[in-house]
Assembly symmetry: C2
Homo-oligomer: 307 residues x 2
């Protein structure tokens, strides 16, 4: 998804919120805003929103020296979700369609998003809402069919706390059939996104392979991904990508991707053709690739992802 | 009121909304945003928000060649308010306290504010709400006392449509006692602010003197006001200023000012100590003046207003 003009005010709001979360010094907050304003003047609309978010957090880290301002809230939501884990597991095992229920729970967990919402979300209400209705975009039948035919799945994670809900879906997939799941976390702290530390904290590393990726982008930006993740992205039978950020960076690639997310902003809602607050199981179609002989491994990303 | 960091995203949102109202060309809208971003990088926090709004609209006019994109909505709301005028007059004349009722109606009319709200307001509901409750900040008793002791009042208007509600208050003041009222409108089209044309359209010029002021700022910026308005500001026994913009530019001057407004943004709400949606009759206290011998007529504005 490209960057829309509506993203500009939102980017600035997010920069201010994050700067305030990192330092109480209003002078530094102002300096951060001015730097972000300068970056926005030269930000191309063909780039994706997570690329400017990545820049914002680089600026904040540089200005404040704080490399992980969200460490406290990440821990908090990992613990909250882990306390819910036994009840959620019972709910899945008692459900008529346990894979669908686990899938819906993974979507509900996506509400834990400090980038889009700060801490203004209600996790329990979201879970109830998601469980009691069908997703607004619902490609679950194809997702189930593809999972049942797959031997390897790449699962691109999103946030801390949410990763407990992802664990439940990963466990349920492994319950259905024996296959390989690789779970991607962020390579460096960025916002409240899950890193290797979070994956270990919630036990994800004990049920599947966890791969750290990237350098502090709040989504999978393939041009910045490690060769291992890029290879896995191309080779996996099924790619499941969590959250708005991954939708923004991966909705137009050379392969189909399943996006599981809660819609939290009007721009993503418009792009998907749904409403803010909706739950989504979307499947992107492959964009015909531009074959660039310089591209490592001839991978199937469109031109913008090939450096 | 100074500019808060929270104003930055809001300024950008407003710039985009106004650019879209003026041209459907997304390339031009993007150019406007980039110019506004550049202006924001050097905008001092000690300046007031209407100063950057003024710059935004200068940029839009320059980029699009459209000097009055709001002419249609101004006409529309003048006509809507004029259709309501007879009923509102009956309401005032039948009220126990007709001056207070006229005052509350003038506040209700301030909801017609395309700068803060676009067209997302409900005029009839606002009128009902304002009439059925006391203002959250209510200095009406002092305002009435000062009006009854005054021989000259300066009334700084705000928006088209709203000016019909102002006319009802001006008429009611003139009903109470014989005095001189000067009503200030904008010197050039800016947003949906009332100009001389609007004042004539709603008949304000037939009941009091109407003075156009400034060069396209959406509020009274005294350093840009005509000598006539600056003299009137200093000389008037009572100054009544409508709307958030005038509060932002005049809350800290060398003389007390009565502000009549609907609170439409969280920053102004915080500055006033009330809530978004509140109705306000606020009286500012005089700031001890910095006497600058260069200032024309030794007027009592604080240093920032003396060029």
């Amino acid at each position: 998804m490209k960057t829309y003009l509506d993203c500009f005010p939102c980017v600035l709001r997010h920069a201010l919120q994050s700067a305030r979360m990192t330092t109480p010094d209003e002078r530094v907050q102002h300096e951060v805003l001015v730097r972000v304003l300068r970056e926005l003047t030269r930000f191309p609309l063909s780039a994706t929103p997570p690329e400017i978010t990545q820049t914002i957090h680089r600026i904040i880290k540089e200005k404040t020296g704080n490399k992980d301002p969200y460490v406290g809230v990440k821990r908090k939501y990992n613990e909250i979700a882990l306390r819910m884990y036994p009840d959620l597991k019972r709910l899945v095992s008692g459900a008529d369609d346990s894979l669908f229920t686990a899938c819906k729970l993974a979507i509900a967990g996506n509400i834990i998003d400090f980038g889009a919402l700060g801490e203004s979300f209600d996790l329990e209400q979201t879970i109830k809402g998601v469980l009691n209705s069908a997703p607004a975009i619902n490609r679950f039948d194809e997702l189930r069919r593809d999972i049942l035919g797959a031997s390897g799945i790449l699962y691109l994670g999103d946030n801390a706390g949410e990763i407990v809900f992802d664990r439940i879906l990963v466990e349920e997939i492994l319950n259905c059939r024996s296959l390989t799941i690789k779970f991607v976390v962020k390579g460096e702290p960025i916002l409240n996104d899950a890193t290797l530390e979070d994956a270990k904290f919630v036990g994800m590393d004990r049920i599947c392979e966890v791969i750290p990726d990237g350098h502090g982008a709040p989504a999978t930006i393939l041009t910045e991904s490690s060769p291992e993740v890029r290879r896995a992205f191309d080779a996996a039978d099924v790619v499941i990508a969590k959250g708005q950020g991954n939708y923004e960076t991966l909705s137009e690639t050379g392969r189909p991707v399943y996006f599981l997310l809660k819609v939290k902003c009007p721009v993503v809602a418009r792009d998907l053709g749904c409403q803010v607050g909706d739950s989504v199981i979307h499947r992107s179609t492959a964009i015909i690739p531009h074959i660039d002989p310089r591209a490592p491994g001839g991978c199937c990303h469109p031109p913008e992802f090939l450096g």
